[in-house]
Amino acid sequence: MENLVNIFVKSVFIDNMIFAYFLGMCSYLAVSKTVKTSTGLGIAVIFVLGFTVPVDYLIENYLLKEGALVWLSESFIDVDLSFLSFIIFIAIIASMVQLVEMIIEKFSPTLYSSLGIFLPLIAVNCAILGGSLFMQERAYNNIAEATAFGLGSGVGWFLAIVGIAAIREKIRYSNVPDPLKGLGITFIITGLMGIAFMGFMGIKL
């Protein structure tokens, strides 16, 4: 249990998807103009990551990696299907996003229309595919660890996007030099937030 909390907190603060790895920057920059849309998108990302990482963990361990197919037949011990990972992961993500889209449309039509095109764009959000690829690279020991990682990454992304949206809303009334307005200052602020989050790196859990 302690290990799970460890992994969760690590992926929220220390291995933050945005500040440590820059995944999901495009929608992060585009949707963070208001806090409301950012919260909606952030929650959708938590959902998608929370589901796709465990599912991809099962696929990786029972289908893709070297020797994974032994449960089918002993002779498959040499079979290594990991080159198929990209296509299979993307297929899972695309279907999850379609599912989340249908759920949001049913339960909150206002959120659905305010997110617009960015909801289907979660499918190509590098944070989601990145989550599964990191899970594959780090080879977690069981599905609980993978889920903790997925949920933690989602929460970290959510924190980042809501944070920058709040700052952007305030900074509209500041004296930013013209060439830096909008995109430029957002980059620099994100960099500063990244430096701040690095302060978490030394924490031993």
Binding site: L23, F86, I87, N125, L129, P179, I185, F187, I195, M198
Partner: protein, 215 residues
């Protein structure tokens, strides 16, 4: 048969190659492809390999989708695009693993993430779906070049200031180190990439007034 065939390198076509370098740069103007641009720019070599890989994937995917544009039903076009891109990336990944294994290890997950690189999807949707193959090919090369230029600039500064080398060759002489100069460790870390890109945007918009955002 068309009596009027547009020359292969007409001025309109050349524009497809040159505009993304400045006016419609994918990273600083269109805000696409940010993720990988920041993550792989610690040193020049991986940045160059990444830019080249993206160029190959973009050029080929653009041509394939452009050739298929009249036959793909609109409902499943995203899936078709993803499959084409994913197939190309798997190819590029295997080639990289075979020929430049150490760089492929440095790039790790970011080769796979070329699939979700918004520039590729973005240009497929915005251009390849409604234009002919040769134009799509040029658009792919142009945008990938614009992306590559920013990558190389950021990587150049980060490597020079962060490790004192350029492309792996030591550039800052020992005497400067003895003077008390230290490599800027912050440059190697992710947040500096964001700030460097912010500065590039600043310089670009200061020179090119029409890109300034008015809010």
């Amino acid at each position: 048969m068309n009596a009027e065939k547009e020359p292969l390198f007409s001025s309109k076509n050349i524009k497809l190659l040159t505009e993304p370098m400045n006016d419609s740069n994918p990273i600083t103007v269109q805000v696409l492809g940010i993720c990988s641009a920041l993550a792989v720019t610690v040193k020049l070599k991986p940045a160059f390999v990444m830019a080249l890989s993206v160029m190959v994937v973009m050029a080929v995917s653009n041509v394939v989708i452009s050739l298929l544009r009249k036959t793909v039903p609109p409902r499943i076009r995203i899936i078709v695009q993803l499959v084409v891109i994913a197939a190309m990336v798997i190819l590029v990944d295997q080639v990289l693993k075979a020929f430049v294994f150490d760089i492929s290890k440095q790039l790790s997950v970011f080769v796979g993430l070329i699939i979700t690189n918004c520039i590729i999807m973005g240009r497929l949707e915005a251009f390849a779906l409604s234009n002919k193959p040769w134009q799509s090919f040029l658009d792919g090369i142009g945008n990938a070049a614009g992306y590559g230029v920013i990558l190389l600039i950021v990587a150049f500064f980060r490597e020079l200031l962060g490790s004192g080398t350029v492309w792996g060759f030591k550039v800052i002489p020992e005497s400067v180190y003895d003077f008390g100069y230290e490599n800027n460790g912050l440059m190697i870390l992710p947040p500096m990439a964001l700030i460097v890109v912010g500065v590039i945007i600043w310089v670009q918009r200061a020179k090119n007034k029409k890109l300034v955002e008015s809010n």
